[in-house]
Amino acid sequence: MTQIPFVLTIYYSFFSWNLLKPGSFRFAGLQNYGTLVTDESIRTAVLNTVVLTVCVITLSVVIGIGVAMLLNSDVIGKGLMRTLMIAPFLIMPTAGALIWKDTLLNPLFGLLPYLLTPFGLERVDWVNRFPMATVVVVEVWRWTPFMMLIILAGLQSQNPEVLEAARVDGASGFQTFRRITLPLVRPFVELGALLGTLFVVQTYDSIYMLTYGGPGEDTTNIPFLLYLVAFQGFSIGQASAIGVVAVIITIIVATFALRTLFSIFQVEARR
């Protein structure tokens, strides 16, 4: 039931159709795709999607590894730390984005501009001056717990006897990490990064709430552009062509994601 609409999307993408103009439905061939190639805004949207996804995934994986290692070590209050840490992922994304925008980053009443005044950064309008950075920060805040959970599960599947043996054999902490821990958690990191990518590519909630794609087109990614074209411009054909592009990008990522997923299943099965 989710595949049939996609077939229709491909079909519509070959037509020119404005919802507001009755009778405007006509075959347009590859015209919509031609527009995609020449159109400035689709290129911006693809670029924004790539920038957003790469930044968010890289940062959240790196921070996620750090936090997971902290939570896997002998720290005080591990359980509570983990519980509090996953909260950003569970909070409704629209709610989270609003809280960031209106109560933390608001130039007049927000907490962050106030805290930063001693550093000479008084009343900076973060959302408008650094829109993409703001979206990245909010999304990293949301996705780091996700990465942390997956990587932590990987770390906890480590056999403590192996680590003990390495220690007895005189391996340093760094050596143990590089030779034993890293190879073991690598599939988990990959899985987290790929699943995360599939979600982050679709980021829509926080962009809608934080910047509405703006200022200008600075934070318009592919899903948001599609929304604008379909529901603000009512160009069904053009929107469908953008949808097809989104699918092609996703298929490339998903192929890798599925391979990783299956390799983990097979490792599990071999045990």
Binding site: F6, T9, D74, L90, F109, Q202, Y208, T250, E268
Partner: protein, 275 residues
């Protein structure tokens, strides 16, 4: 003696670092709660109010205002779709795990590929379909859409739990003369109740927080909780405390469910691959 001392010192040091990081990540949530407990002037003050006498006034105002219908719509959409996922997904998972049909690996792939299909790819046709069926701004449309979004995930997840049931158990049940339905009700369902819980949790999270379809398919009658929050976007007025109270209430069910079922969360998010 000296070794234990340094060991403890490093333990304390890493604990402090850890708690600092956790504090940074948890702070926006804490701040949301605090803002919700303030009065409007306190929430919109400069410098921000740190110490204040908490009040539930804004929570009361949100709950007695126009928020409840949105909340109820969210509940209908997420609970309805979750039930449908279990009812439809369990037989499919059973067929794939216990009595593999031919080409079950391909079927699995096909299932999950639908979950990875971007929402963008199906938005336009589904919108036109809903429009023609007069299902726009109808909560039933969201129930159906969320079911199709979560079904592949549910099938994979339930399958991963079914695979863990030892085959001998089925043999034993059959030897004892259990029919197919006995087998399912008496053996399968009790054994995979954690799996059903995990599936429910993950479906609930995704459908409760879903925004893309909700905002494009509903306007007033069927609008869900995230849509209520949209009305605060243009909030140039002094509504920060109310906003925070609404955000807290809207996030509460998923936050609670996620916290209670932490163990199931990780397995659900990775479709059963990571335990």
């Amino acid at each position: 003696m000296r070794a234990t001392l340094t060991l403890n010192r490093s333990k304390v040091l890493w604990s402090v670092v850890g708690w600092l990081v956790v504090f940074v990540f948890f702070f926006p949530v804490l701040w949301m709660w605090l803002e919700g407990l303030k009065s409007e002037p306190q929430a919109a003050s400069s410098p921000p109010t740190i110490f204040f006498a908490p009040t539930l006034a804004e929570f009361q105002e949100v709950l007695s205002g126009d928020f409840p219908p949105f909340f109820i719509n969210s509940a209908i959409a997420s609970i309805g779709s979750t039930l449908l996922v279990i009812v439809l997904g369990l037989p499919a998972a059973y067929a794939l795990a216990i009595r593999p049909v031919p080409n079950s690996r391909d079927v699995l792939f096909f299932f999950i590929s639908t979950r990875f299909l971007p929402f963008a790819a199906s938005l336009v046709p589904l919108y036109l379909l809903a429009r023609d069926l007069q299902l726009l701004d109808n909560i039933f449309a969201l129930v159906l859409i969320y079911t199709t979004i979560n079904l592949p995930l549910g099938v994979w997840l339930l399958r991963s739990f079914l695979l863990e049931i030892p085959n001998d158990l089925f043999e034993a049940a059959r030897v004892d003369g259990a029919g197919f339905f006995d087998e399912v009700i008496r053996v399968v369902v009790p054994l995979i109740s954690p799996g059903i819980a995990a599936t429910c949790l993950i479906c609930l999270i995704f459908s409760w927080n879903e925004f893309f379809y909700a905002v494009n398919f509903t306007s007033s009658v069927a609008a869900t909780a995230p849509i209520f929050l949209v009305s605060f976007i243009s909030g140039r007025g002094l509504f920060y405390a109310k906003l925070a109270a609404a955000a807290t209430l809207a996030s509460l069910p998923v936050l609670m469910a996620g916290w209670i079922a932490q163990k199931q969360l990780i397995r659900g998010l990775t479709m059963g691959a990571v335990k």
